[in-house]
């Protein structure tokens, strides 16, 4: 009858089933909501940068938002990489197990716990005037500012996973290298990195995925201009940010366009995770 084994199995099955149902339900309702806009504009919706919500001349395209999302996230990954990678080596290898490493590790994890809106506020009041003073542009908003904030926000994700992966590199490999007269740098370059490569790579894919969907802090700093940015110091908009800004008053075709952008964001995030997994497989 109902032994504990069976109960556990059923509970686990039900829990996983609910997750599957929720995910597919979300995809289905997104697809359902996106139908009208794809009927109206076809595949052009993805490749057009026109966004005109004025009644009577409605025309929607997602390209400027796709561009904004990808550019900010790429900037974020570029800024994040040197910081996060050095920190994970510091905590996971050089100062491993020391009090200092623990403090740094905790600080990095704390970054992950700061709410997005607080990053936005800090960016608005501290980072933005700095960008103005440096003369990048006259008001401080834009793709670059948003990218910097995103970089700081994703550092903890990249760092903590990379650190764990670096710690997992077998000690006997490292010891063997040392016994052959390798320096610390040699060990890092020829033992740790080759061994931890795929794990480290995954951590940056995850961080990138997180940057793609970030909303609140970005919307406060990017300038919310619905055009393809002409340079990285220009203002722009991202997919998540345009949805957050405009769904309140949206109805009809515009609502459908926003839902379609949500669907595209879902697809892009999925694609990037998929490509990441493929790359990992190919390298190993």
């Amino acid at each position: 009858m109902w032994n504990s084994e069976k109960i556990t199995k059923t509970l686990l099955f039900l829990a996983s089933l609910i997750i599957v149902l929720i995910t597919s339900g979300m995809v289905l309702s997104l697809m359902n909501g996106a139908i009208p806009v794809f009927k109206e504009f076809g595949i052009n919706f993805i490749f057009s940068a026109e966004w005109n919500p004025t009644e009577g001349r409605e025309d929607y395209g997602a390209l400027s938002f796709i561009a904004g999302t990808l550019i900010t996230s790429v900037i974020a990954i570029f800024i994040c990489f040197p910081l996060a990678f050095s920190t994970s080596l510091f905590v996971g290898e050089y100062y491993r197990g020391t009090r200092l490493a623990k403090i740094v590790g905790t600080m990095v994890d704390m970054l992950a716990g700061i709410p997005s809106i607080v990053y936005g506020l800090w960016g608005f009041y501290v980072l933005r005037p700095l960008i103005v003073d440096l003369g990048f542009n006259s008001q401080g908003f834009g793709i670059f500012t948003a990218g910097i904030i995103l970089a700081i926000m994703i550092i903890p994700y990249a760092t903590s996973i990379s650190t764990e992966i670096i710690k997992m590199v077998p000690n006997n490999l490292k010891e063997a290298a040392y016994s052959l007269g390798a320096t610390r740098k040699d060990v890092i370059l020829s033992v740790i990195i080759p061994n931890a490569r795929s794990g480290i790579f995954t951590s940056y894919i995850l961080a990138f995925g997180r940057a793609l969907g970030e909303t609140m802090a970005v919307t406060m700093l990017i300038g919310n201009t619905n055009l393809i940015p002409k340079s990285i110091f220009d203002t722009g908009n991202t997919m998540a940010s345009v949805i957050a800004n405009q769904f309140g008053e949206a109805d009809g075709l515009k609502l459908s366009a926003l839902i379609a952008i949500g669907l595209l964001l879902f697809v892009i995030t999925g694609l990037i995770n998929g490509v990441g997994k493929l790359l990992i497989k190919a390298r190993l």
């Binding site: 919500p53 005037p129 908003f141 919307t219 300038g223 919310n224 309140g248 008053e249």
Partner: protein, 356 residues
């Protein structure tokens, strides 16, 4: 998803009403079954919050207002989950035809949109209609442009980039502003048009009046439009704007009120922008409450209908209009109040007049 949201919203409203009215039950038996829910525009939110609270204090009838945006207000009324909705842009013929019943508009107060700016050395900036078109369409990019200097001969404008700030979310404020721009500029009318959100030729977006105001306050060289009630309360510097008679007018309650001095149609569905009155501030507009003319629907009780109409006739009268001024909205002129009363007296329950 939409349905789910509506259901959720209704549930929240219901939950909040129930708990509230049970509190009041003991002290006010008469109204125990009646509580009024409304939702919509955020532009008049400070006024509605104050007025609703005062009315509840006065009569014991519980009122709930959800500031979910004009679009949401119209949707909620269409789905019949509120007693009345609120909107900053009146429903056009097509939108009215979409509704399941005949709709009436009751104006409640007059608001305005001010042009706020941040130039530390400059006070009393004047903007002509041509200046507004040039700035907001990106034809002028420097504050010391000849055309701007012409309207401001007594001011030394700085050699600085103009940064236009607009709303990134859909808004009645944007609607009133773009309606005015369409009236004064043919280029704007053909290239941008009017609406709650627009395809902006230039500038950056910020969310809500607080977002635009915050960005302007924090950034030198910016200019943007903000709801007057917010600008007055926050004491942000704003410009004098040229009206239809060529006079430069500073927005204040008198000049905003003056915009409604002209002819108002019987259904009050009119945009007050670019008023012909020589003392009027030109970027002004009514905000409306909307409801079904036939109040008997969805098993609504007659008491519910009566209380709704009673409240609406209170909000356009003196006491409530004085509250509007406290939170920086201009009151309705007397003749508009009379027009609104006429509309209310034509409201029916099962075909019979509700107000006697």
């Amino acid at each position: 998803m939409k349905k789910l949201l509506v259901v959720l919203f209704a549930a929240v409203l219901l939950a909040s009403c129930n708990s509230g009215s049970s509190d009041k039950k003991s002290e006010n038996k008469k109204s125990k079954s009646v509580s009024i829910t409304a939702a919509g525009a955020t532009f008049p939110l400070p006024f509605y919050n104050l007025a609703f609270k005062n009315y509840t204090k006065k009569t014991g009838i519980l009122l709930t207002y959800g500031g979910i945006g004009s679009g949401g207000g119209i949707r909620s009324l269409k789905d019949k989950i509120v007693d009345f909705g609120a909107t900053d842009a009146f429903l056009n013929a097509k939108k009215e035809a979409d509704m399941p019943g005949e709709i009436v508009h009751i104006p409640t107060c007059i608001g305005a949109v001010v042009i706020a700016y941040n130039l530390p050395e400059v006070k009393g900036l004047k903007l002509s209609n041509q200046n507004l078109e040039d700035i907001f369409m990106g034809k002028i990019t420097k504050w010391n442009d000849k055309k701007l200097q012409e309207s401001n001969q007594d001011i030394n404008l700085p050699d600085m980039d103009i940064t236009v700030v607009h709303r990134s979310d859909g808004s009645g404020t944007t609607y009133i502003f773009s309606d005015f721009m369409s009236k004064i500029s043919d280029a704007w009318k053909t290239e941008v048009g009017k609406g709650k959100s627009l395809k902006w030729p230039v500038g950056l977006g910020a969310k809500g009046n607080p977002g635009v105001a915050g960005t302007i306050k924090q950034t030198v060289g910016t200019v943007g439009y903000i709801g007057s009630e917010f600008a007055f309360a926050q004491k942000i510097p704003f410009a004098q704007v040229e009206n239809s008679t060529g006079k430069f007018i500073l927005p204040n309650l008198e000049s905003i009120s003056a915009s409604a001095q002209g002819e108002i149609p019987a259904d009050t569905k009119v945009m007050l922008t670019n008023s012909s009155d020589p003392n009027a501030y030109p970027i002004s507009g009514f905000t409306w409450l909307i409801l079904y003319k036939e109040q008997s629907y969805d098993n609504r009780s007659k008491a519910q209908a009566e209380e709704t109409i009673k409240f609406l006739s209170w909000i356009i009268e003196k006491d409530a209009q004085a509250l509007a001024q406290q939170v920086n909205y201009a009151p309705l002129p007397e003749k508009t109040v009379a027009q609104a009363m006429k509309i209310l007296s034509d409201m029916v329950y099962d075909g019979e007049a509700i107000l006697k």
